[in-house]
């Protein structure tokens, strides 16, 4: 050691060492730098550490601390540079290119993911989630919804019955009445859940499937609100260029009724943009005053709108799945494709 401050000297040594390390063009040069600074016998930083004993008791702790810090910094720099030069660590070190130790990855079913994505958008639009039983009565499934059992409309959803007037709900619409019975307007809910129909399994039908009901009841709710909210949902789900189209239709519990189609704009990898065809995504409409009256509300005062959509179909279109039955196979390789 010279007369100069040993800590300053260590810092100068550190800078010199780091320069030498970062400038080392290959493994040999790097090894030379290691020997020059950290070598057991000739290393200049090692020499400082060896010489600590000759320092005064006042100086020793501070210098020792600094010397150890510099040694650590230089050692780390050597490892980083070594890795950068493409050599795995030597026999004493770890090969950090080896695979990491991970836990198993799990994931939500793609239909649940679709339900959640849809729910999160409606949550942001002021909706909450409601639910009801999957086995219900003819009253809730049909009659309360302005669907007399002797009307052909009751046939359109081929219903599975349990006993007499008890059935497996053929849509999530019974939740409309069950919610209105328990709460006062304003009502703003969605109701995701399983529904059942007497359909055979094929690429586009399964006898049990998820549906999401939506219901809004308040004063001053109009067809314009209905259209605007669904358009907003579509833009948030499929992107800002998405447009919707309403086509007149018939559901006994809504009037006016509509089928809702969306048209998306897809941007291809090469940057070109393409409009999709119209895609049917839900049935919807203004809540029929008879339904509002059945709930015990004044239909002159309250108006509303409702919809029902199939998240399985939406997930199918979104992920390019070509057969709804795939969703029920639950092959972990399939489910793993949707894990996040």
């Amino acid at each position: 050691m010279t007369d100069s401050n040993p800590i300053d000297a260590l810092r100068a040594l550190e800078a010199e060492a780091l320069d030498a390390i970062s400038g080392a063009p290959d493994e040999d040069a790097l090894e030379d730098a290691r020997v020059a600074f950290l070598g057991r016998s000739e290393g200049r930083i090692s020499a400082v550490l060896r010489g600590l004993g000759q320092l005064s008791a006042d100086e020793r702790p501070a210098v020792g601390q600094e010397a150890n810090r510099v040694k650590a910094v230089v050692t780390a720099a050597l490892e980083t540079r070594s890795a950068a030069l493409g050599r795995p660590a030597g026999a004493s070190g770890l090969d950090l290119t080896l695979p990491s130790r991970k836990p198993w990855k799990g994931g939500l079913h793609p239909i649940t993911q679709a339900v959640d994505e849809i729910w999160h958008i409606f949550r942001d639009l002021g909706f909450s989630r409601a639910r009801g039983p999957e086995a219900d009565t003819e009253w809730y499934n049909f009659e309360a919804l302005n669907t007399p059992l002797d009307h052909p409309a009751a046939d359109e959803q081929d219903t599975l019955y349990l006993v007499d007037s008890v059935l497996l709900r053929s849509h999530t619409s019974p939740v409309q009445m069950r919610t209105m019975e328990r709460h006062e307007p304003p009502i703003r809910i969605i109701a995701p859940g399983w529904v059942y129909r007497r359909d055979t399994y094929d690429a586009t039908h399964t006898p049990a499937f998820m549906q999401i009901e939506g219901l809004v009841i308040d004063e001053g709710v109009t067809f314009v609100d209905f259209k605007a909210t669904l358009a907003e949902f579509a833009r948030r789900y499929w992107g800002p260029d998405t447009v919707i189209r309403l086509r007149p239709s018939f559901f006994p519990f809504t009037e006016p009724s509509a089928e809702v189609d969306v048209k998306r704009v897809i941007t291809r990898p090469d940057g070109t943009r393409e409009e999709t065809d119209w895609l049917e995504i839900m049935g919807a409409g203004m809540v029929d005053p008879a339904v509002i009256e059945n709930a015990g509300y004044d239909s002159e005062r309250y108006t509303g709108w409702a919809f029902g959509m199939g998240p399985a179909r939406i997930a199918l279109l979104k992920h390019g799945v070509d057969d709804l039955r795939t969703f029920f196979e639950n092959d972990v390789r399939f489910l793993g494709q949707f894990a996040r």
Partner: protein
């Protein structure tokens, strides 16, 4: 419903649109078009040819040599059809023509004879399935004229989807009304070729009418509000003229004979089903409209089927017996046949609900029942009857009795519906002027008969009397015809709803996230179950293999696990949150529970070079079960060893879950090899199922306690515990006897082997003592430990390991 494009053009003067434009317009009116078919498109090259002569092929028994006039000179054609005859017209594909399937006709030599073209069968033209021979054409043709034009195949057929409320659209006139606004604005019935211009006088009555020797009596007016009849004498039954056949084919109907075709034509045009009886085969002759009597258990319909009747079914009877199931199908014994000369033409109005009940009981649906069920224009019967009479006389000859019968016990009165302009705005969000409302409604047949103070009085046409009864029904018509696209789409202010997010969804969200975090995949399985897996039975199941609703979610998940193993997926971890069903009281809906179930097999973690592979075991299952139970029951339910009924779980490795009231609310354990189909290489299978509490418990609010400021004192105890004493029992005793300074207790080692006596094991506990106020002295802690050891020995026979 199949709609002929040409027919629409004839009904709507000034209509100019392609098939695609019509489809688009109808879709935006609520009647989407499924498919558009133009049968003539693929066979435009085919012409009508006359075979002048046909003789035996000199070198082949089954072939004929024909001289064919295809309009472009006479050519020789080799034909293999047995029915080829000289002097007859056939469809002909000349050399160079292309047939469906991109089949190009070439000049060929067949067994040494030149063949220049092909005489075609209906199958080859894509028009039919029969392949017994070539298609013989009846009528007069010019050789070389287009086959497509000659057959009327240049029409387009639109398959229009009609919603259940719009019975009026089950007719060309109805569809045409929706298109009137893009034509000249109105619908006009086209002139019938050869229309004799009949005019009928009606003998009217409310219960019974008679004319021309025929009586009509309605005994059950609740099921039939009107029954009209016209008598046509001296008809000659035969094929319909070509124009009528083409028209029917364009609408997807099959021509039969002139009289039947006339009734079908009017039904397809106006939506009114009609039926023609052979008058000579009606006893009386007369008609009685009444419910079936118990003495008439069966009836044979004109399709030859014998059908079981019930006494709620409305029958059309002659003086002696039923001759038709009213509004559904005629009978075999009274239908018009080739030798029929006198016809009684029925035009009636039946109750939609009765027709629906009848045809459902008979498990059949006909063009007539389909229309009556959805509502036939109560104001259009005379028009339909007169048009059908005119068409029969024009095509089958004969003369109509000047007096027709009109038995009408219940007369239709058109309804007036009040429509408030203010209500339109309230519902639709846009103000509509009275003039504009009138403009929208008028083409559909609604008439604004006046208005008072912003309320319009609207008369509803008969054909809309079924679905337009209320103000809101009219408002839908206004929205629809104004065009949904024409409404603005501006998001207005809204209030948040009064309904809180259902707590079960919040619990499900939490559990799903926890399961995914533990490396499980969520599965979806349908809730149907095979026998033995449920007690709630579906009355009308689709698959007889799964007629029940599941009681437990585990069996279906185990099948999915087996499915995965069978596909070589050796690490399978699935969970599902779903509904289980259990029988409740008779006639009431089943009891439903929301449950979480999971099944697991394979390795604990993905293979890694640094550690040996280890299969999922009982402690993994227990941890998963405790996690689910902890989240669902917030500490109020306990997981303990126990047994589960049934043969799914191994009794030695099963846990049961009890809630605070002692109800069993879940279980989990090792699945017996007999309960799941696994390959030999698979590791042990684990499963659990927990019922989520129907009153979801809120997550407790964590309450802060100050962190300790003084050090703790730890003591490790190695204990020899007899096998009969559960570790949890020993731990409980330690907790209960170590004093209030015991802060934590941890079981950190377990040993069984030669170093400890048989029938015992060594269990090591670490006890951590701490006082909130002061540092404990070793002596104090030692005193506590002595108490613990003493009680362990006295009460449980546990000794310290020496």
């Amino acid at each position: 419903m199949n709609v002929s494009k040409r027919w629409l053009h004839d009904l709507v003067p000034g209509l100019q649109a392609t098939s695609a434009e019509l489809a688009e317009h109808l879709a935006l009116r609520g009647a989407p078009v499924d498919t558009i078919s133009s049968p003539g498109e693929d066979i435009a090259d085919v012409v009508v040819a006359k075979v002048l002569s046909a003789r035996q092929h000199p070198n082949a028994d089954r072939l004929s040599l024909c001289e064919v006039d295809g309009g472009d000179g006479v050519v020789q054609v080799v034909c293999g059809a047995p029915n080829v005859r000289g002097g007859t017209y056939y469809p002909f594909a000349p050399v160079g023509a292309v047939l469906p399937g991109d089949f190009r006709i070439k000049k060929a030599k067949i067994r040494g004879e030149l063949s220049q073209g092909m005489l075609c069968s209906s199958k080859e033209l894509g028009l039919g399935r029969e392949h017994d021979g070539i298609m013989e054409l009846t009528g007069e043709f010019t050789p070389g004229e287009s086959f497509v034009t000659a057959m009327g195949l240049d029409d387009a057929t639109l398959d229009v989807e009609i919603t259940a409320n719009r019975g009026d659209l089950l007719s060309h006139a109805g569809v045409a009304r929706e298109l009137a606004s893009i034509g000249a604005g109105s619908v006009v019935l086209p002139e019938l070729p050869g229309d004799p211009g009949v005019s009928l006088a009606y003998v009217e009555g409310t219960g019974e009418v008679a004319a021309g020797g025929v009586t009509i009596r309605i005994a059950d007016p609740d099921l039939c509000s009107r029954y009209m009849g016209a008598i046509i004498r001296g008809v000659k039954v035969g094929p319909s003229p070509e124009w009528l056949q083409k028209r029917l084919r364009g609408a997807g109907a099959r021509p039969i004979s002139n009289v039947v075709d006339a009734t079908n034509y009017v039904m397809l045009e106006l939506g009114q089903p009609l039926h023609a009886f052979d008058l000579a085969r009606l006893a009386g002759p007369g008609i009685v409209v009444r419910r079936s009597s118990p003495s008439e258990p069966r009836f044979t319909t004109l399709d030859g089927e014998s059908r079981a009747l019930n006494t709620n079914m409305l029958m059309i009877c002659d003086a002696e017996r039923p001759v038709a199931i009213g509004g559904v199908m005629g009978g075999l014994d009274s239908e018009v046949e080739d030798d029929t000369t006198d016809v009684l033409l029925e035009c009636a109005l039946f109750d939609p609900k009765s027709i629906r009940a009848t045809r459902k009981a008979l498990n059949m649906s006909t063009d007539a029942s389909y229309r009556f069920e959805r509502g036939v224009d109560p104001d259009g019967l005379r028009t339909a009857l007169e048009r059908c009479v005119a068409l029969i006389v024009a095509t089958a000859g004969g003369t109509v009795d000047a007096q027709a019968l009109d038995c009408c016990p219940v007369r239709f009165a058109p309804s007036l519906v009040d429509l408030r302009l203010a209500r339109i705005e309230k519902l639709l969000g846009v103000a509509f002027e009275a003039d504009y409302v009138n403009e929208l409604l008028h083409p559909l047949g609604f008439v604004v008969e006046g208005s008072t103070d912003g309320t319009l009085h609207v008369r509803v046409p008969g054909y809309r009397s079924y679905d337009v009864k209320r103000e809101v029904d009219l408002i839908e018509e206004i929205a629809r015809t104004h065009g949904y696209d024409a409404f603005p789409s501006d998001l207005g202010p809204s209030r948040p709803g009064s309904v809180p997010d259902h707590p079960m969804f919040l619990l499900e969200d939490e559990l799903r996230a926890a399961m995914v975090g533990r490396g499980l995949f969520e599965a979806h399985t349908p809730a149907f179950a095979p026998p033995g897996e449920g007690d709630v039975e579906v009355a009308n199941p689709l698959a007889s293999t799964e007629p029940f609703m599941r009681r437990s979610l585990v069996p279906a998940l185990l099948r999915r696990l087996a499915y995965n193993l069978a596909r070589g997926n050796r690490d399978v971890r699935l969970f599902e949150i779903g509904t289980s069903f259990a029988k409740a009281g008779p006639g009431s809906p089943p009891h439903e529970e929301t449950r979480l179930a999971a099944v697991l097999v394979g390795r604990r973690e993905p293979p890694h070079w640094s550690v040996a592979e280890e299969a999922l075991g009982v402690w993994d299952l227990k941890a998963l079960l405790e996690d689910v139970v902890g989240r669902a029951y917030r500490g109020s339910a306990a997981v303990a060893p126990g047994s589960v009924a049934g043969d799914t779980f191994d009794a030695q490795t099963t846990f049961v879950v009890h809630d605070a009231s002692g109800n069993a609310v879940g279980h989990g354990g090792r699945v017996l090899g007999t309960a799941v189909d696994t390959p030999v290489w698979a590791s042990q299978v684990w499963a659990l199922e927990v019922t989520l509490p129907s009153n979801v418990l809120a997550a407790p609010v964590a309450s802060y306690s100050a962190l300790p400021t003084v050090p703790a004192v730890e003591r490790d105890l190695a204990l020899i515990i007899p096998d009969a004493v559960a570790a949890a029992v020993a731990a409980d005793l330690i907790r209960g006897s170590a004093g209030e300074e015991l802060e934590a207790l941890e079981l950190f080692d377990l040993y069984r082997g030669p170093a400890v006596p048989e029938g015992t094991r060594s269990v090591a506990f670490r006890l951590r003592f701490r006082s909130p106020e002061r540092t404990l002295k070793d002596k104090e802690v030692d005193r506590n430990v002595t108490v613990v050891l003493k009680r362990l020995e006295e009460e449980l026979g546990v000794k310290v390991r020496g």
